[in-house]
Amino acid sequence: MANEPIIGKEAVLTALPGNRAIEALSSADSQIITDARFDRNELTLTIQREKIRSACEIVRAAGYNFFSDLTAVDWYPAEPRFQLSYHLLSHHLKERVRLKVMVSTDDPAVESITSVWPASNSYEREVWDLFGVRFQGHPDLRRIMMPEEWEGHPLQKTYPVEGYR
């Protein structure tokens, strides 16, 4: 089971019938999951961009009580360009789930989840600082790693590794 990835929403839904995250999300809103993948024993659910905060609320209510990590991947030059990966953990189920949101270049913004998990505060600031993805509703969206007057977002693929000299 671990060797072959299961790709596609329908396939994952049938392969993992008892999964709490999938169950809770699809019973709340059948459209919220746009894609799914079960690969190397890790479940990835792609969520509609404008519904990430409510998806987090639903998943948290389903038992995934701990926010582990949030980061982004820049798929330049593909569009939508930025992938946000939310890693959530359930202490009770001893299980992880990865929620994925795709964000395009023309409006790189997504709703902040600081109201669901305050822990995401620093992580969202980091993604804004290093990738340039904005988080709407974040209480204090300042740069966190780079100096405030810095130009550009260093982890974008268009930014050279050696920096600009």
């Binding site: 701990f66 991947v73 990865r98």
Partner: protein, 414 residues
Amino acid sequence: MPRSMPELAEFVATERLVKPSHEQDSQSHTMVLNMGPQHPSTHGVLRVVVEIDGETVVKLVTDIGYLHTGIEKNCEAKFYQQVVPMTDRIDYLCPMTNNLAYCLAVEKLLQLEIPPRGQWMRVLMNELTRLQSHLVWLGTHAMDIGALTVFLYCFREREELLRLFEAIAGQRMMTSYFRVGGLALEPPLDFFPRVRALLKRMPEKIDEYQNLLTGNPIWVNRLKGVGHLTAEQAIALGVTGPPLRASGVDWDLRRDMPYSGYENFQFRVPTSTDGDVWARYWVRLEEMRESVKIATQALDGMPEGPIQADAPKVVLPDREKMKTEMEALIYHFKIVTEGFTVPAGEVYQAVESPRGEMGYYVVSDGTAKPYRVHMRNPSFATLQALPAMCEGRLLADVVAVIGSIDIVLGEIDR
């Protein structure tokens, strides 16, 4: 976010950072105080801006980024095996925990199985690293409070551990001993007897630290009831590791989501419900005892066999083979010059570091260089809980609380 001193007044006066409250209420007179970034008790270059009313902290804001070196960006320009030395430099107190998390993540992408001896060795080295890290924490934490003696006692044992690391990896701190697919080398012949001798002495030494501190009234008064954090707060703020367990959440990745063969070891996960600095002190001391137990079990049950996976395209060949076999020489040349390719995909692998959940998120696009490496660092999240623990308490407690969450700034800023 570095700033020069003359701009400080303007910076801290910005509404978003600290807002002096004397204008709103003439009864209270607060002042803004800057701690750091060069301050011994911040364990690195952490800057803390506190608004104080007399001795009481009204508001606390942390400012990080002084050590940001762009390690994540650098990883994208290196071959998979070249990333291992970078992971050491994130957290200089637990290099092998970082090595392990990264190697496990890449091995998960490659779907490689590590032979039992490799796994056992990794567990052994991880527990020795945890001991080493906790010794530094205890020494510096006690020094912050003013108990200087403990520091010397802790560093005496830490020195022995570092000598063991040097024997096995040739380096005291930046060991880079793990490889994707196993370990770099077989340990030297006298390594296991030396580890066993040290582990035998350790419980007695831990008693010694405890004797120096636990009954000391100054230590007790500085720690008990200070920096309180409830279980709900800890979970909401992303706290992991000993501070989480000290707040009463029974969660340890080694036991609950085992990796690298941890399911074969018997150990206890110490927890406390007090949630204060004292509880964190107690939990870490108990963890040191458990680490000694796990390391002893690893020594006793150390299996024979290879320390590296049988994957010629990923693991560098044996030196002897390389000199006698054409095929091994070709593989060696290919791995060194072009790296090895990793199938496309994304994985998140977390391990229990001495500070909490250390997670590596590795994204591969099928080439020999990682497309993206992200580190989920325990200190980065735990630092967010600092205001919750300090606000409303005395200024002197800030130092005790920073010591108790055991942060490493290298891992926060990356």
